[in-house]
Amino acid sequence: MSVGIISYGAYVPKYRIKIEDIARVWGDDADILKSGLMVNEKAVPDVDEDAATIAVEAARAAVSRSGIDAQRIGAVYTGSESHPYAVKPTSTIVAEATGTTPVLTAADFEFACKAGTAAVQACMGLVSSGMIDLGMAIGADVSQGAPGDALEYTAAAGGVAYIIGNKESELVAVIEDTYSFTTDTPDFWRREGMPYPEHGGRFTGEPGYFKHVTGAAKGLMDKLGTKPEDYDYAVFHQPNGKFPVRVSKKLGFSREQIEPGLVVPRLGNTYSGSCMMGIAATLDQAKPGDRIFATAFGSGAGGDAFSITVTDRIEEIRNNAATVEELLANPIYIDYARYAKHKGKIKVA
């Protein structure tokens, strides 16, 4: 029996800050940063937006894109590293605001940048086993970067929701298989009560991102007997532009395969939404029959790889909600002072 995506929805706040504006404050060279990170600007949440509001907007877009009865959703799982409450689920807020309550199971997921894809896998299991009809998996973040830290150039805001089901007529994309590669690798963390995360600098690269993305990606291709050339598109977690470009090349994917899903130069790293946003941007333009290879990465650390085939139904529902390209268009640029206000870095009371 097939399992896969029956709908998806994305949300990106309308504000952006350019790398130049951040670099000016800290005396860094914007050109070096932009070419090194391959990021030009990042999305900034409004003063009244957080991971919960972003998750709700993405979830509502997913429900309206497919036109399903939200009461059919039997699980809502929200992945984030910036849940607004330390204790109290974001997913209950999402469930209430999308009209899926009260007969459902809900929980919040946390696995740095891959909490959203872990939620997708959980929904695949529940749907495949027959425990639920449909499941909604969300990755949403208003990620934090300490002032002056390297992360401040990329830590962005955005979210994506996927509704997972198994009725052939409803699937816009079949998830043929998924494969995870996980070890205990302390490349990035945030301790309880701390406002900003810490990271291992260059240690986040080879032993973190590259080991786990290649471990998951190769594992899935070996399992399925597929090769990079069997896929039309590829999406890899995008903490910056450099890492996904490098890992895709290492694995044998071309620049053309990753380009449609490479949203990070105009968006920044949306953490739990990152890889899921790349998949959404790819679904926005994929044709029926196209195959998408995707691998999310979460620090801590692990990789979740997915092999996806787009169905004919994509054409029917694609235009019922905003595309990622539409969400990225016409941003409002703000300077560092207003960015600091939006992110609560200025205390006014």
Partner: protein, 131 residues
């Protein structure tokens, strides 16, 4: 605001659920449980508003009440929903962007919070509807 007081009105705030009198086709938001026109002859049922509407009037707040200091300047307006009722809400846009008659649509936002330790209140605000 106490936790139960917010929670009782949570669905109305999250999803713009009001009521409608089936007898006279009058819509109410916030929800009424009795139609003031039809009185005991009225037939009240829940109604979920689309949230589409237009700005009737607005003001720009520069000196905010406690808890909203970090949002100034912000726009507060009266929105007339397409189905009829009017409500007061923050309108999320630049102060120079808002106009009387401007079409708006709903968004899900933080309405406020009970300090650093208390609960966070979520609900509906409005943004310009450019479509």
């Amino acid at each position: 605001m106490s936790v139960p007081r917010f929670w009782r009105k949570q669905i109305a705030r999250y999803n713009l659920v009001g009521t409608r009198c089936k007898k006279c086709n009058e819509y109410f938001y916030p929800p009424r449980n009795m139609c003031p026109g039809c009185r005991r002859e009225g037939e009240i049922e829940d109604f979920k508003f689309t949230g589409k509407g237009e700005v009737i009037t607005f003001t720009v707040i520069h000196t905010a009440a406690e808890g909203f200091e970090n949002q100034t300047p912000y726009v507060l307006g009266i929105i007339k929903l397409n189905e009829g009722p009017s409500l007061t809400s923050q309108i999320i846009c630049e102060p120079e962007e808002v106009k009387i008659g401007m079409k708006v649509k709903p968004v899900f936002r933080k309405l406020g919070q009970a300090g650093e330790r208390g609960m966070i209140y979520y609900g509906t605000k409005f943004v310009p509807d450019l479509c």
